[in-house]
């Protein structure tokens, strides 16, 4: 009777190995999430400090001469993205690499800056910053802030495309394109992309140097 109550060595070893492996996996993923959150907070502080500096400079000189807090180096804060309807308020960083997207939504290098003529592409992870992007509906308002330039956008299209399908197109007028993976609730690398396009409520203000 005593021996039947004891755990078998096989179950003990396998159970221990599974728990250890699981802890490693969860620790790895958790470290990535925590690292991203910490860096996102640092990036927000950088952004706010840059905004203050820009405001002081504007008060002194009358013009804004810089927008991005850290230039356009990957990972530096570039703009602020707000979508009130889904409660999104994130600092957009330059670059769409793995490191940058872990910090926040990333601005695709080579695309227009938010509010400037052309297509401005901002991408984010569906499990973090763009978690609620799927709830965005046509007609919703998106706000981007970049230095003194504050642009209000209206969502005009919402498409789901395959990962390899053409999704980004050059435009003459100001366009904001937000992309993330689709489906939002999906375990593993999601096969599709959600592409949300918005147009500005007003034409971009001229004379403000990015």
């Amino acid at each position: 009777m005593e021996s039947s109550r004891r755990r078998s060595p096989w179950a003990r070893r396998t159970g221990g190995a599974l728990v250890a492996t699981g802890l490693l996996l969860v620790t790895f993923a958790g470290t990535r999430y925590v690292e991203g959150a910490v860096r996102a907070e640092a990036v927000r502080e950088q952004w706010e400090a840059a905004q203050v500096r820009a405001a002081v400079e504007a008060t002194r000189n009358g013009v804004f001469t810089s927008v991005a807090a850290g230039g356009f180096t990957p990972g530096s804060p570039l703009a602020r993205l707000r979508i009130p309807s889904i409660g999104l308020d994130e600092i957009v960083v330059a670059g769409v690499g793995d490191v940058e997207l872990n910090v926040g939504p990333g601005h695709l290098p080579g695309s227009a800056l938010p509010g400037q003529p052309g297509n401005s592409v901002i991408s984010g992870h569906r499990d973090r910053h763009f978690l609620r992007l799927g709830g965005l509906a046509l007609g919703d308002t998106v706000v981007t802030e970049m230095g003194p330039r504050r642009t209000q956008w209206i969502v005009v299209s919402r498409r789901v495309l395959g990962a390899g399908e053409p999704a980004l197109f050059a435009t003459v007028d100001a366009t904001l394109t937000l992309t993330t993976c689709w489906p939002i609730r999906f375990f593993g690398p999601a096969p599709d992309r959600l592409v949300v396009t918005a147009k500005p409520l007003e034409p971009p203000a001229a004379g403000v140097q990015g």
Binding site: H125, R126, D127, A167, T179
Partner: protein, 141 residues
């Protein structure tokens, strides 16, 4: 058996030509590297002054960009390696056919959306499942 093929103008009817000097020359050529304990692979020429040629040709190339300059540098390295190996290199052709390389991550018309796929949710799920299964096994009696 003869070596008539080595002497143009001789026919099969001519007497075979054997030359001790020929054998000696061939043997010398074959054995010299071994005797010198060295490897004779090819003629190593000094690198040509490719920069001057590249710049001159780049001026002829329509609308050179920074990307094509990067490509030209790679071609320079290839030209240097080829020249070191004794191969003839046509630098003009290399530069003329060098197309601007797309810069990684740059926005191109009709390009797919950036890769935002992340395996982290799957890793969390697998980790949690492994912990759960392991705990069950450890508690099983």
């Amino acid at each position: 058996m003869g070596y008539a093929f080595l002497r143009p103008g001789l026919t099969r009817e001519d007497p075979p030509v054997t030359s001790g000097r020929l054998f000696a020359s061939l043997a010398l050529v074959a054995l010299a590297p071994g005797a010198a304990a060295a490897q004779f692979t090819t003629f190593v020429a000094p690198p040509p002054r490719v920069d001057t040629v590249i710049v001159a040709d780049a001026r002829l190339t329509p609308a050179p960009t920074a990307d094509s300059l990067a490509r030209a540098n790679i071609n320079n390295m290839k030209a240097w390696v080829d020249s070191a190996a004794g191969n003839a290199v046509d630098l003009r052709a290399e530069v003329a056919t060098a197309a601007p390389l797309p810069q990684p991550g740059y926005f191109a018309d009709g390009s797919p959306a950036p890769n935002t796929a992340t395996p982290l949710p799957l890793i969390v799920l697998l980790g949690a499942s492994a912990i759960g299964a392991g705990t069950v096994l450890l508690r099983r009696r």
